[in-house]
């Protein structure tokens, strides 16, 4: 119980240090912080280091990129969007064409009476493997991602 009390006391002191440092502190809390700093040399030392750090970070700003970056920004986003749509269409078309090609070749090979049985089995296994892998990937991307309720929760 006393440990918990001490922990919550430490937490309060940390918050006082932060709000004092960032100028987001009400007047009554400022007095409390000043009293704490006067009565605790270790805390005063920490406050001094935090103040010096704040002085350093206050002089730093983000490095600005060249101005022309902003002129092309929306164009780049638009191009990437467009290319994304292009890739989806290309992929869909390719899937249909490749599937048709595989189906037509398989029919041709299976109806070939001169081909040995083990080769026919190998061709069938290869086609079946590709189909299983494709369906599995598709199911994962389309369904499991969509119905995973916690997909956006960061663990």
């Amino acid at each position: 119980m006393s440990q918990r009390k001490a922990a919550s006391g430490d937490e309060r002191i940390r918050r006082l240090l932060m709000s004092g440092l960032d100028g987001e502190m009400p007047a009554e809390e400022r007095e409390e912080l000043e009293r704490l700093l006067e009565s605790d040399p270790a805390l005063e030392d920490e406050w001094g280091r935090l103040l010096r750090l704040k002085e350093v970070t206050d002089t730093m700003v983000f490095k600005k990129p060249p101005d022309d970056v902003w002129d092309d920004y929306w164009a780049s986003v638009y191009i990437r969007l467009e290319r994304g749509i292009g890739w989806v269409l290309l992929s869909l078309g390719a899937i249909v064409l490749i599937s048709y090609g595989i189906w037509a070749s398989a029919q041709h090979l299976i109806s070939d009476v001169e081909m040995p049985l083990y080769l026919k089995v190998a061709v069938g296994a290869t086609i079946l493997g590709v189909v299983v892998l494709f369906v599995s990937v598709l199911r994962e991307r389309l369904f499991m991602g969509r119905f995973e309720r916690y997909k956006d929760i960061e663990r």
């Binding site: 935090l50 002089t59 730093m60 700003v61 990129p65 638009y78």
Partner: protein, 194 residues
């Protein structure tokens, strides 16, 4: 006055979101132009690399466009976009391979205003400030991502505690605790120069 202006922006954000949801790309383009700098600097603060910040902020807009149907037009656009930006940045940071590459190719992402002012009159001081800046960047790079995020939002984006809490969806107390831990870690890293 400031509040009226911010309300005006929000109303028109609203309208742009509705138009974008109806498939109007120009309206979405307007949203991109309005928030590209904020998204870029948010990503820069989280990744520390211009190239990554440019790539991830643009990727965030692309994902926002694809997911626009799920956005509630009555809610502000930027906090929603920021969630996408931070998730992309955190994912990148978790990719150790990319992180190693980034560290090898690291270029400065902070600018020292005070150093820039004093460099003309005192080159020695300028070298010292440059060393301080690179040590600060390295210390920020070494922070855990959540501490780094709060520190960047406070120190370099200049947000108030309430704004950070709203943006991240966490209590103000948590913002202050993370900020304290981040600053204590930075002070330890920079111990001899402070």
């Amino acid at each position: 006055m400031e509040r009226d202006r911010s309300a005006e922006i929000e109303v028109s954000d609203n309208l742009l979101v509705l138009k974008a949801q109806a498939g109007d790309r120009e309206a979405f383009g307007e949203l991109v132009k309005r928030y590209m700098r904020r998204a870029y600097y948010a990503a820069l603060g989280l990744t520390g690399s211009h190239e990554d910040a440019m790539d991830l902020s643009q990727e965030a807009f692309i994902r926002a466009y694809r997911a626009r149907a799920s956005l509630d037009p009555d809610r502000p656009f930027y906090p929603w976009l920021y969630q996408i930006v931070r998730r992309l940045c955190f994912n990148l940071a978790r990719d150790r391979r990319t992180r190693r590459r980034r560290l090898e190719e690291a270029t400065p992402w902070l600018r020292d205003q005070a150093g820039a002012r004093s460099s003309v009159s005192d080159p020695g001081c300028s070298a010292e400030r440059s060393e301080l800046r690179s040590r600060l960047e390295a210390a920020i790079d070494a922070l855990p991502e959540r501490e780094r995020e709060v520190l960047v939002l406070k120190e370099f984006e200049g947000l108030r505690y309430r704004e950070i809490a709203d943006l991240l969806g966490i209590p103000i107390g948590t913002v202050m605790s993370r900020l304290y831990t981040a600053r204590r870690n930075l002070a330890e890293h920079l111990g001899d120069v402070l």
